[in-house]
């Protein structure tokens, strides 16, 4: 999966779960300030990303993630660390 594909899929998950228009989910959109995500949203997002990207995400991994682009970067890092190639 390329970075571009990851990026598209993360944005589509956020659009679906947060019920926001696709154009609101820009790469530099901030999860809390712009997208109004709360701690429950973060847990749910992590569960869904674990399922869709075949990785495991530590409980507090999303705590330091500020923007959509940082979510994509985190996923890329975890996929590479955990040896997920598909």
């Amino acid at each position: 999966m390329t970075t571009m594909e990851l990026d598209t899929q993360v944005k589509s998950i956020l659009t679906e779960r947060l019920g926001l228009p696709a154009e609101a989910i820009t790469s530099d959109a901030r999860l809390v300030e712009d997208l109004e995500m709360d701690s429950l949203d973060a847990v749910e997002l992590a569960i869904q990303m674990e399922r869709e990207f075949g990785i495991s995400i530590e409980e507090d991994a999303l705590r330091d993630v500020g923007t959509v682009a940082e979510v994509v970067a985190l996923l890329e890092r975890l996929r590479s660390e955990q040896g997920v190639t598909v």
Partner: protein, 409 residues
């Protein structure tokens, strides 16, 4: 004590989404029962229900709210939205003076079952953090409060089939006492699942007229064989009558009396004494005489026991006047909405008063000597209604009766 008016109505029912659609269907004697389409019911003794048709939650609610809620909450939110818009009440002016009271019989059974399925199949790590708040019985009231900004008293009665009536009755008291100036009140249930159908089937409470769903809900008819499970929500706005009139709000009807009684008798069978005493107490609370009552929206479930017992209770409470008033069961059209039943029936009762039209009992074919009152069979009937009752009786022997009066009196 203050007088209380109904200034807004909202309904999500098997015979229509939106109050005017619902009322037009009641007035036309529309059947809401059909084969179950929500799941494969082929192995169940009852394969019919009154489903809400054509409900796409995202047509009414933000997607973000839809994915966090089970269906009963969505129904409550849609009905509350309609009732609030209808009333034109401005909650933001004094949010602490507006409360919420939403009853439910079961809460989010479908989501509980789906979550249990996920737990068994994928383990605890796969569970959504929204599963628990999505199915708690108090969360219909919680969401209505969050989405409307109402910050006054909040309640969520869970008195099964009487929950909707109790929610409105308790809200009536809160406005009457001055604990709140207005209340969003009603009930919601959405529990069409194999589990619930099978459990009611185990109680032999449901109609098994699977080959003829359109006539399965036949309250007061001799050949009635059980109730038909339904779903939906009803919400009303109750307001201090003086304040409502001062702001020029339309008042559908006035709530003038309410009572609850317990039978202390039987798990599922209501008692004549408890139901009759509830009606008498509600009339006394309203300060009206039995002879003043023109119409009763009956609990009228279409079970052999309820309809005969309710008839006997009405006779006990009203004496000779029982034969002069009209008694209809709108469950003949809607099926039994459980915790939402009393709320949609309060709406039907308020509109019967406001519009001078008694909704009928459809599917009434063969008289039953045990149910020999005027049940407004077949077709709606124009009639001047000054005072009307709405009855709800629940498992556990819990009876609730509301008294409504024409707003102009």
């Amino acid at each position: 004590m203050r007088r209380v008016g109904i200034t807004g109505l909202g309904a999500v029912t098997p015979i229509g989404i939106g109050t005017e659609t619902f009322w037009a269907a009641l007035a036309a004697g529309t059947n809401g029962v059909g084969p179950i389409t929500r799941f494969d019911a082929s192995g169940l003794p009852t394969r019919i229900a009154a489903e809400v048709k054509g409900f796409t939650p995202t047509d009414h609610l933000p997607r973000r709210d839809v994915v966090r809620t089970d269906t009963f909450i969505q129904y409550a939110l849609v009905a509350a939205q309609e009732a609030l818009g209808d009333s034109k009440l401005d909650i933001e002016r004094q949010p602490e003076r507006v409360g919420v009271s939403v009853g439910t019989g079961f809460g989010g059974i479908p989501l509980i079952l789906a979550t249990d399925g996920t737990l068994r199949a994928e383990g605890p790590a796969a569970l959504s953090p929204y599963a628990l708040p999505g199915c708690l019985p108090n969360m219909a009231a919680g969401w209505v409060s969050m989405r409307t900004g109402a910050r006054g008293p909040i309640a969520a009665p869970t008195t099964a089939c009487a929950a909707g009536t109790q929610a409105i009755g308790d809200a009536f008291r809160l406005v009457q006492r001055g604990d709140a100036d207005a209340m969003l009140a009603g009930g919601a249930d959405a529990l069409l699942t194999p589990l619930v159908i099978a459990c009611f089937g185990a109680l032999r409470a449901l109609s098994t007229r699977n080959d003829d769903p359109a006539t399965a809900s036949r309250p007061f008819d001799r050949d009635r064989d059980g109730f038909v499970l339904a779903e939906g929500a009803g919400m009303v706005v109750l307001e201090d009558l003086e304040a409502a009139r001062a702001r020029g709000a339309h008042v559908y009807a006035e709530v003038v009396g309410y009572a609850m009684t317990a039978d202390a008798h039987h798990l599922t069978a209501s008692s004549t004494e408890g139901a009759a005493r509830g009606m008498r107490l509600a009339l006394a609370d309203a300060g009206v005489r039995p002879e003043d009552v023109d119409y009763i929206n009956a609990h009228g479930t279409s079970t052999p026991h309820n309809d005969a017992n309710e008839t006997a209770a009405i006779k006990a409470a009203f004496g000779p006047h029982a034969r002069r008033l009209a008694v209809s069961s709108t469950k003949s059209m809607t099926g039994h909405l459980i915790g939402a039943a009393g709320a949609v029936e309060a709406i039907a009762t308020a509109l019967a008063i406001e519009r001078g039209l008694l909704p009928p009992t459809i599917n009434y074919r063969t008289p039953d000597p045990a149910c020999d009152l005027d049940v407004v069979p077949g077709h709606a009937r124009p009639a001047a209604v000054r005072v009307a009752l709405s009855n709800s009786f629940a498992f556990g022997g819990m009876n609730a009766t509301l008294v409504l009066r024409r707003a102009s009196e």
